[in-house]
């Protein structure tokens, strides 16, 4: 649960509940982007975000996202478990 995984926002699917489809390591999952609603600009399609327990915690740039993904992939079992749990997640 301690990992934060990078993903790219594909589209906002529920404006009211601030839910967006995000592509994470090749899978598309729904996550909450409400914590990024600072000022007028929230997360928009194309943004890279760090995801923790189903919530986008911060925006990052693409280079950071790719480097973090490489780091996570090297972790092996824990990252695999986190991805499995994320894949089982159905946020609606």
């Amino acid at each position: 649960m301690c990992l934060a995984i990078p993903g790219q926002v594909v589209e906002v699917v529920d404006e009211h509940n601030r839910l967006a489809t995000v592509e994470v390591a090749g899978v598309r999952r729904t996550v909450n982007i409400g914590l990024l609603d600072v000022g007028d600009v929230g997360a928009v399609p194309g943004d890279w975000v760090l995801i923790h327990v189903g919530f986008a915690l911060s925006k990052i740039d693409e280079e950071e996202a790719r480097a973090t993904l490489r780091l996570l992939e090297q972790m092996g079992a824990e990252y695999a478990q986190e991805l499995d749990e994320l894949k089982a997640s159905v946020i609606e």
Partner: protein, 371 residues
């Protein structure tokens, strides 16, 4: 230096390691605490400590949320899981944490409906799908995780989901650091600050470390190169006789944190007057409860929770490990009676726990490979 090849920039890794050697005074011993369990994990996985001179010691801190949950709190969760009609939801990491007589996994085997969720929003969905059942979410974690619970509770209230409640065991990072600095058995020179917690709270809450205790702190990213650079930044502050908060992870951590997250947390949570931490004892104002406005969704209000204090097992030295007083392998049961498969203490359960990280990646594992 075999692990340096796996760094984002191996050449830079070697340069930084060299600069660290140049930054230390040979006769001085440096103790730098990495607060966050994610850092501990990276340090052992990549052998970051092997790149440091022998007089620079990394001390593992209390920043692993699973590790600091006391046994009595696990028992409370198990008691709720055994309540008739309850679906008890938690993160996967909590399943194997030992309570005084069983784990949540044991409770599940005994027939309790315990389900792993990835997100508190998954727990809320389960509640909406099972209106005839009571769904409890066991919320753990530092400020990184607390905003997610807060937003989930906001939605539960907005949608009047009456069969959902949260057993709130969120903790905050500053009070245990203060407790450690007040403790006489540990002398620390500086801190590697927790990157993800700082994403939410910002760098400012760590200002008390230099201001009140004269200790440098560098907020750090999680790659081995980040940690090496942060160690160097701490050592340079020490060398120059400075103590300040620096942000090595500025590419992710804004100085002021995530204001939106802080605002939502302030609405949904209130500070507990005190909370028990495994191995550290009671620390005042160190944890969050659900605020009065959200009391209807507080599992501790809805159910009768035993709330019994249970002493840690005598053999277990998680407390000393969490305080950085001993190294994982110095614990009497490390790797013998206590292993990731059959943990006695929490530090061996979570991948971010110092004992599990050391067991899986540390010298212990390397010695086993050689043997």
């Amino acid at each position: 230096m075999k692990f340096v090849d796996e760094f984002r920039d191996a050449e830079l890794g070697r340069v930084v390691a060299g600069e660290i050697v140049a930054a230390v005074e040979p006769g001085r011993h440096y103790k730098v605490m990495e607060v966050c369990g994610g850092h501990t994990h990276s340090i052992y996985k990549y052998g970051v400590d092997d790149l440091l001179p022998s007089n620079v010691e990394l001390v593992h801190g209390p920043g692993c949320p699973v590790c600091v949950i006391p046994m009595g709190r696990v028992d409370d969760g198990i008691a709720l899981a055994h309540e008739p009609g309850v679906i008890f939801t938690c993160f996967g990491d909590m399943l194997r944490v030992p309570g005084s007589s069983q784990t949540l996994l044991d409770a599940k085997a005994d027939g309790a409906d315990v389900r792993i969720v990835y997100s508190p929003l998954d727990a809320l969905r389960i509640a909406k799908q099972n209106p005839e059942r009571e769904v409890v979410f066991f919320a753990i974690g530092f400020e990184t995780t607390a905003p997610s619970t807060a937003l989930t509770l906001r939605r539960a209230r907005a949608e009047s989901v009456g069969n959902f409640s949260v057993m709130c065991s969120h903790v905050t990072i500053v009070p245990p650091l203060r407790a450690l600095l007040e403790s006489p058995d540990l002398r620390l020179d500086g801190f590697i600050g927790p990157g993800h917690v700082a994403t939410v709270v910002g760098a400012r809450p760590f200002q008390f470390l230099p201001d009140q205790y004269g200790k440098p702190v560098v907020i750090s990213g999680f790659e081995p190169l980040d940690i090496l650079q942060s160690v160097l930044m701490v050592l340079r502050q020490l060398g120059a006789g400075r103590a300040t908060v620096e942000n090595q992870y500025a590419r992710v951590v804004p100085w002021e944190g995530n204001l939106r997250a802080l605002e939502i947390m302030a609405e949904v949570f209130a500070l507990r007057p005190h909370f028990e931490w495994r191995g550290l004892g009671f620390i005042s104002q160190s944890a969050l409860r659900i605020s009065d406005a959200y009391a209807e969704w507080d599992a501790e209000e809805r159910f009768s929770v035993p709330g019994v204090r249970v002493a840690d097992p005598k053999a277990c030295q998680c407390g000393e490990v969490l305080k950085g007083v001993i190294k994982p392998w110095e614990c009497k049961v490390f790797g013998t009676a206590c292993t990731p498969e059959r943990p006695i203490g929490t530090c061996m359960v979570s991948p971010e726990g110092a004992c599990a990280a050391y067991y899986n990646y540390g010298r212990f594992a390397r010695e086993r490979e050689v043997a």
